[in-house]
């Protein structure tokens, strides 16, 4: 089905963008943290961005594992349907 392919492609693109955003967050976060301005607010903002970015990267990385887990739990209830794909 073309629609399935389309959604798959969009997903792959979004994953690429998400990784890029993570690197951007990483850079921006460290840049803000390392800024030679002794303002705690700016440092905290940088840290927050960094932290969010790391969490996002973590969930992105374990995404396929999450869906595999979901499929496992659902199949424990009843038969599984499609195998978990890797985006």
């Amino acid at each position: 089905m073309d629609l399935v392919e389309f959604v798959k492609n969009v997903t792959v693109q979004v994953v690429v963008v998400a990784w890029a955003l993570f690197f951007l967050s990483w850079v921006v976060g460290w840049a803000l943290k390392g800024l030679p301005i002794p303002s705690t607010r700016i440092k905290k903002t940088g840290e927050k961005i960094l932290e969010d970015g790391v969490w996002a990267a973590f969930w992105l990385a374990v995404g396929s594992s999450v869906f595999a887990l979901v499929s496992y739990i659902a199949s424990a209830v009843y038969q599984p349907l499609p195998p978990p794909p890797t985006p």
Partner: protein
Amino acid sequence: MDILYLAYYLSILTYVLGAALRGLPIPLVSIKKLGSRLMVDGVFSAFLVFSYKGLVYSISYFSSLLGSNWDAFNAWYIAEAAALTTLFLVLKTIGFIYNKIGLGFLASGLISPLVSLLIDVLVTVTVFYLAVSVIYATAKTLIAVGLLLYSVPFRLTRPAGAVLIALPIVFTIGAPFLPSFISLFSTVTPPDQQLIQGEPALISLVDLVGNPVAYFVLNSTDLEGNLLYTYLSDSNGVVNATSIDKWIPVGPQVLDFLLPGSKYTVEANITQGSKPLNLTYRVPNVISINVNHFIYYNTDEAIVENISRVNGTLTVVFDVLYNTKVYVVYEEGSSLVISVDGGGSGGYETSFEWFGVDYKAFTADLSPGVHTLTVQVGELNISKPDVSEVSYLETTVEKGSVMPLAVSLVSLTFFRLLVLPVVYILILVSATLGLAKLLGGVEARISRVMVFGP
């Protein structure tokens, strides 16, 4: 199923979108929250997609658990629709009879609104039946489409998807309980009364040897002598009273079988039985030559020894005990050669008219001993008697007790098959919305707890 694959990839897309939003280097709480929500939605909708078979299985599981039976429901609908159609026909016929006897204002003022109410009832029940049948037949597809809509990112079609998932589950399990729901209320309804206590029937008359006696007129009165109905038989000797405007009543009644120049009376107690009722009566003192051509004799004074038909000649041998008369009745214009004991005429002829048909009767005086009556049958003139039939429905309607009964019957039907199903649909719809809310709302929180911890 492709729909399920699509739903699954949409779930993954939702999850990835959520992750991307979370990774965005913009420290805005609303964006982060949206990201988390998308991730949770993706995980939960993926869970639902994997549970597709479980959802489908849950329908049959809960159905068997609660004992909902679609076969019984189908049978119930067919029976109710047939009963409604019969009632509809009866009312239409009553209206027709009112028009016939000059009470057209009753037909248009009372019968027509009742009939249109009945049509409303029939349409409601039929629409309900068709709708739930379609839901039942397409339950799997509906659930799959519901999952697809449920998985679309940003919760665009999530409520609709949840309703689509809940609808087949609730209706497939719940709809067959409609008859039970209706019967819950049958305790407060008056006892079921039939508008016309009649039965479709086939009534036939046969002669001494079992040949059909044709074109007889059946006149039935009740025990007080009031006319119930007058029907004319067809040329095969059968009164076909199976159509609704020609039913016969059950119970004791006096049946007069009128034949040209003769009458045979039976006191019958007609009971319900097969549909249509098959009633056959034998008239022992008649020998049928053909339609409208008969031989009558007195069973107390003569015994028929033998009857033979050879080449259009009917020969009857009588053993006469006392002086008696034997009659040969035939239509004027028929050519019959009648002889007694092989010789001459031996009798005399008279003419009479019966229901617009001219007849002749040959009367033979017979003394005790054995006599032979020979009838050579030539060209026969067969005419249909001109009888104005009076149907049982007509005599019932004229009594006037039918209208209040019809009103109460239609009202009862309206309550049973329109009000109660609508209430039941509302119950099912509210249950559907409740289940949809559960799928779209509460469990999302459960899944959030599952994924992110409390």
